[in-house]
């Protein structure tokens, strides 16, 4: 296993190279602004070409029952069905529901984890947008508590 120092050194070299040469032209970013500004779940799904939301046992959401702090809530999404195009994580009661969108390719498993901010207790959604435009979802309620001394 390489040491952290080696990793760092390589990292710096790679970063420098990429910055210098403008490598990765294929990463032509086209951030879907309207999806992330959508207030409702369905509007966000629509912005990524998804149809009407349908609950499905083949989509899995992993989230804690209670989050000790809304600033960091671990969320994971996965889907067991073939033909998944995109996986989305959403928090219904956030000002904009969409948290993250992951493209699914043949080279990776249709399973992702990240951490979200939640302003209040809410249902959290995992949505799979299929190649045919179907939008399948699973949801779970996450309670946000307030720890510490409230000071």
């Amino acid at each position: 296993m390489q040491s952290r120092r080696q990793t760092l050194k390589q990292t710096a070299v790679v970063a420098g190279l990429l910055a210098g040469t403008g490598l990765f032209p294929q990463f032509a970013w086209a951030f879907n602004k309207s999806a992330f500004e959508a207030k409702s779940l369905q509007d966000a799904i629509k912005a990524y070409g998804g149809g009407t939301l349908t609950e499905s046992k083949d989509v899995t959401i992993t989230a804690p029952d209670i989050a000790e702090n809304g600033a960091v809530v671990p969320l994971a999404v996965s889907c067991a069905l073939p033909g998944v195009k995109r996986l989305l994580l959403l928090v219904e009661k956030n000002p904009s529901a969409l948290v993250a969108m992951f493209d699914v390719t043949d080279s990776i498993e249709p399973a992702f984890s990240t951490r979200a901010k939640m302003g209040q207790s809410s249902d959290v959604y995992a949505v799979a947008i299929m190649a045919d435009g179907k939008a399948l979802f699973a949801k779970k309620e996450v309670k946000v508590t307030l720890g510490g001394c409230g000071g």
Binding site: T11, P95, L98, E109, K117
Partner: protein, 103 residues
């Protein structure tokens, strides 16, 4: 320039689990400063990753991803010694690219 990412990629059973920590404020755009002025949103919005030079992962994030983001994904067919490169770009146009070797 942004601080480096921490990338761990571990191979097992013909695939590699990649765990990434990124140093970023991920300012929500919902908070106000002490003077009552809204602090503008500042967040990573595009994340990509490649395996031995071939792009395998792409994602779009909003400002509701938590500060100093954590990301986990699994690359099929990756083995020890392979290269994983992760890149992020934020809404101010700042970006960062780091590399790790699968162990």
């Amino acid at each position: 320039m942004a601080d480096p990412m921490r990338i761990r990629a571990q191979a097992a059973a013909g695939k590699a689990t990649v765990r990434v920590l990124m140093a970023h404020e991920m300012e929500s755009g919902q908070r106000k400063d002490p003077a009552g002025k809204t602090i503008p949103a500042w967040f990573i919005q595009d994340v990509t990753a490649s395996h031995n030079g071939k792009q395998v992962f792409s994602a779009e994030w909003g400002p509701a991803v938590a500060k100093n983001p954590f990301l986990q994904f699994v690359v099929k067919g990756a083995k020890a010694g392979d290269k994983i490169v992760v890149n992020w770009k934020d809404n101010r146009g700042d970006s960062r690219t780091d590399e790790a070797t699968v162990s």
